[in-house]
């Protein structure tokens, strides 16, 4: 059982942990026992605080949560990330710096916490498009092309997707429910929901291309 001291860690102290241990000593120290390991775990926790704080600070949706809740999220995320790193030490293969590898756990945990906290108490509706969508595209050029495609997409969603695919696609891509929130509500995973989206996109593309529509590739970013 890993015990992590609950204490505020200044960012400068967290950053100095990188200098304390050479890159190749992290795994070794964390795998030992006694005071050496305890010191390494404290340093790792400080790294996770840094990563979680960075992630929370860059998320606009965290602003309205207030500083107390943000600090709680940072500490909880850092605790969970520290445990995750310790549990997966064997999988660290040195393909990046240890600190880079560890940071991703802190970023993940903090991001998930913020998204779920932000949606706590909010209802997630799973619904389908039941009629062809009337486009609300505003520019005349977009209306001709985009409106036509929008209607075709809504028709294809009604005819080509399973009810589950349809509801997941609307929740994630139209209603903008965060994927980590939907996965929690549905008792599934980010991975499984992304696979559902992948299948949805393939089905819709096949149908729309067969109808003669021109669709974008992955290079035109849609994730902002």
């Amino acid at each position: 059982m890993v015990e992590i001291e609950q204490q505020a860690v200044p960012e400068r102290q967290a950053m100095s942990a990188e200098a304390v241990f050479p890159a190749d000593e992290w795994v070794e120290r964390l795998s030992m026992s006694g005071p050496v390991r305890d010191e390494a775990i404290r340093a790792l926790h400080a790294l996770m605080i840094r990563a979680a704080r960075h992630q929370v600070a860059r998320m606009p949706e965290a602003t309205s949560l207030g500083s107390v809740v943000r600090d709680e999220i940072i500490n909880s995320a850092a605790d969970e990330a520290t445990i995750a790193v310790l549990g997966r030490l064997d999988s660290f293969e040195g393909r990046s710096r240890f600190t880079t590898w560890a940071y991703k756990f802190g970023i993940l945990q903090a991001g998930v916490h913020v998204r779920r906290t932000r949606w706590r108490g909010r209802e997630v509706q799973l619904r389908q498009i039941v009629e062809p969508v009337e486009s609300h595209v505003r520019s005349p050029e977009a209306h001709v092309e985009g409106g036509d495609v929008a209607s075709a997409v809504s028709r294809a969603m009604a005819t080509c997707l399973t009810p589950h695919q349809h509801k997941v696609a609307v929740a994630l891509l139209v209603d903008e429910v965060p994927i980590d929130v939907l996965s929690e509500r549905l008792g599934t995973t980010r991975n499984a929901l992304y696979k559902t989206l992948h299948d949805v996109r393939k089905r819709l593309r096949v149908e729309l291309i067969a109808q003669g529509h021109t669709l974008m590739g992955a290079s035109e970013e849609v994730n902002r």
């Binding site: 960075h54 880079t100 940071y103 799973l126 996109r201 992955a218």
Partner: protein
């Protein structure tokens, strides 16, 4: 959770459904990469881009273009490690975004 809306009380017709939704629904997410595999690779891939401008593989670049949450976390990681490689966070993110665009093109 009230996750069903049997009466479709809030029909999508009342909402904006525009080119952004069409793009999100129909983006080409092939070649396939899962979110789990993205997470496994993200540290080495992002470090490679930030430190040495190593191009992204097509599956990784496409995944970041098609998966907003993994994209956000990769950008966050690039910002966080930037100073380790003597870059500003903005420079590190610019490298990553250029790599995503290059891989997904």
């Amino acid at each position: 959770m009230s996750n069903e809306n049997p009466n479709n009380a809030d029909p999508i017709e009342r909402r904006e459904f525009d080119h952004r939704h069409v793009a999100r629904l129909t983006i080409d997410s092939d070649p396939w990469l899962s979110c789990d595999d993205c997470f496994e690779q993200v540290d080495s891939v992002v470090e490679g881009v930030v430190a040495e401008n190593i191009p992204l593989s097509a599956p990784f670049g496409v995944h970041l273009a098609a998966c907003p949450v993994c994209h956000e976390e990769a950008v966050s990681l690039a910002e966080l490690i930037a100073e380790d490689f003597n870059l500003s966070p903005e420079q590190a993110v610019a490298r990553l975004e250029a790599a995503v665009e290059g891989a997904a093109a």
